[in-house]
Each structure stands twice: as C-alpha cells, then as structure tokens.
Symmetry: C2
Subunit: 263 residues, 2 copies
Amino acid sequence: MDKLFVIKIGGNVIDNEQNLSTFLSAFAAIPHRKILIHGGGKIATKIGDQLGVASNYVNGRRITDDATIDIVTMVYGGLVNKKIIAQLQSKGCNAIGLTGADANLIPAVKRPVKEVDFGWVGDVNTANIPVDTCRLFLDNGILPVFAPLTHDSQGHILNTNADTIASSIAIALSAAYDVRLVYCFEKKGVLEDVENEDSVIRLITKDKYQQLLSENKLFAGILPKIDNAFAAIDAGVKEVLIGDAADLVQNTTAQTLGTLITN
Amino acid sequence: MDKLFVIKIGGNVIDNEQNLSTFLSAFAAIPHRKILIHGGGKIATKIGDQLGVASNYVNGRRITDDATIDIVTMVYGGLVNKKIIAQLQSKGCNAIGLTGADANLIPAVKRPVKEVDFGWVGDVNTANIPVDTCRLFLDNGILPVFAPLTHDSQGHILNTNADTIASSIAIALSAAYDVRLVYCFEKKGVLEDVENEDSVIRLITKDKYQQLLSENKLFAGILPKIDNAFAAIDAGVKEVLIGDAADLVQNTTAQTLGTLITN
C-alpha cells in the first residue's frame, strides 16, 4: 500500500507566523500523500473578545454556544484555514482547505447532553468517513487541510477536537494506505526525563509501554496521548509519531527524531 | 456534452435566512452538475464595524486593506460558505465549500495599481483555471460552492468580484460542458418596464439587444449585465440567464421565467 501521513499541528505552530511558515515549507516538501489537521490557536479567543463574546466554561470544559460556533467557523474554517492554503499553494503544494462538512468528509453527531451540555460540539462518526472521496483527492495530488470542524448532517457546524479528527481520519484511511499519524507538539517527543529534551524515547511498543509504566518513568500528562496512539494502532493505523513540528521532515522518514509508537 | 449550471447569488439571498434556505433547497434539487458562487452580503460590514475596522473607499470604490482581507476571508470563506455547505449537506446535496486558493481552482493576480490601489483585490486568470480538477469534482458528484475569494500564488488571499468568478468559471468549463450561467438578482429578469415585474423580456439575442438599444427600451443599470453576458457567450458559454433566486428551479429548465440571453 502507498504511504499516507496524517499530521496534526496545534496552537504553538499556528500562533507564530515564522513557526507556521517553516512548518508549511516542511509539509510541502514531504514526497508522499499527506493530510494536515490544524487546531485553532489563540486568535479565535482574541476575536471573540473583540466581538464581546465571552468564553463559557463548565467544569473547566469550554461550551460552544451559538455565538461561539460562528466565531470558530469564521476563524478556524476561514481565516486560519485559508491563510494556510494560500501559503501552501505559494510553496507548490496543491492543498485544499476543508471542514468535515465539505463533501461530507467527517460526519459527526452533536455530543449528547449528559451532566454537561457542551453545545455545538461534535463526536466523529469514524465508520462513516467516505474513504473513496478522500482517495479521490489524495490519488489526484490534492492534499486536504482540515479545520477542526465537522457537521451533524442536519445543517449545523460542530466544533471538534483536532486530535480526534486526526486519529479518526488516520483510522478510516488505514484500509487504503499505510498510515503514519504524526502529532506535533511542543517537545521533541516522549521524554524519559521531562526536563531533558535529549531524553526522547525513540520507540515505544506495547511491551515497552508496560515496562515504562511499571518503572513509573513517564510524565502523567503524556499518558493519554500514548493511550490514544495505541487505540489508533489497534484500529488499523500502522504507527504514530509524537514529535516537534520543527522536526517534521525527519519524522516523516525512517530516521525519526521523535517518539515512534507501534505494535 | 453534459449540462452544467453555474449559479451566482448575491446579498439579497444571503442576508435573509428564509430566502437562503428556500434557495438552497431549490439548488439541491437541480438534477444536473452545478456550481454555486456566493457574494458576501452585509455581514462582513457588520463584523468589520464590530471589530473597529472602517471601510475605506476611493472614488466610490472599496479598498481591501490588510484588516479587511482578514475579515472577508473569515466571513465569506468561513462563516457564510460553511453555513451554506452544512445546509446543503442536510438537504442531501454533496457540496464542497471552496475559495479560489483551494486546489488552485481560481488563479488570480493582485489588481495592478494605476490611479487607485485597490489593495488585496484579485483579477481572475481565466485561462489558468484547472478544468481537470473541476471535472474531477463534478463528475464524481461533488458540487463546488465558491466564496468570492481567489489567491495570487504568492501566499495571499484576494477579495474578488463574485460575478466575475462566476463568468470566469463558466467560460473555463464551457470547453467540457454545455454551460448555462445563471445570475440571481432582485428582479424576475430584464424588464421592459422597470416598474412592472410582468414585463420580463424572456429572450435576448444579439439582434434583439441591438433593437432594444436602438428603441431605448432598457434601464441603463442593466446594460453592463447584458454586456457581460454576451462577453461570456462570445467566450464559449452556451447561454446566460438573469432572474430571481426564487425562480431557480424553473430557470434551470427549458421553461425559463427569467431572461435568457443567447447568440
């Protein structure tokens, strides 16, 4: 099968113009099929503040009300996404900017109300992602760039976690490609010593993970990322890479600098 | 050749939620290949005002400065475009929301500075529109919906007249399809008596146009629209229809209610 890289970047890349430009040059240079998923960054909060839309939180979780979904649709789906596309096009990369509503690429449901009503927040329906439509783009050299938005098939846009979109797409497309899911974050990789960037654990298998856990060697904050990585692998993704956006080029080769997670 | 309808709507449809929903139901029901181009409506001005971005005009022409291009990118490319896509998807229409930067679908150049510097405004390079990419979407049942934005291939989004985008796409795709270009506006069609909506001139050929001009029967404001229609026809478009958005279904059949312009 052909290789596919599904790459997620967050606010630390998007909020810094120089970091973003450097990252997009690296993304453009990857000589394989590739999909980018970007988070929102701080600009949505800034524009929301300017428009007098207050952020609402319940139990520390952000609520997406009517005014907020309009702002994130504007900022993530419009401003951030289209700036990325214009830059990638200028770097010779035939990118297309999308939300999950476009061509119904990421069907989702509004999160059911339990203790908390999160508002216009989506839970992805991974099984219904149209693999053929994704292939139509990828196999014709058109590279999707997703804003963290989906839709409910009832006319509403839904605010959706970018990490979840990345893993859902990686899982859906693992039927058609050898998928490496790449999470860019603020460290070089999973560190054995959180104070030491040179202590990257280069390879984590399930056995190695159990060993690291039993030796109590991992920073608690990284555990959900590793658990999610193994969940993606159990669902068909070949490997997951956690690393620094600045190391993207190397992290899409066999000579990875970040942490490669595999069975 | 297969039929293709290239349909443009403006602010009078977009600014009214009920009009927009009715129009989108009609668009979804057209049993042919179709492309929608939407203008911006008043919401960009409203949000610009709320964000403290003043509209700049020189000689009555709006200037798109740095702050303004960000606002129209957010509002046209994000809010308006994605709301339309979510609604079309809910109506069973597999729409995809795009700007001209996406997949490089509408290459443009920043308008050269002569007497006036219009700022980030684009002039479409019709000859470079990638017909094969458009066909890839249309022939696979994916229906493009364009915001009035293009790009300069140097990393910048450009504010671009929606009528021009519509005619450029119609011209470029006339090599592959029998194209009817449909302009929705606030009247039933070109009126012989501007006060009387029942006086629609149902067919205008070039001969008929010369006759109407010589008889001084046309409202001056409509002449540029008819001139642009004949320019599109001279460049390969089969026919142009000017009519009311509410009559869309009929205006995409042989029994048109608006004004059909043809050679």
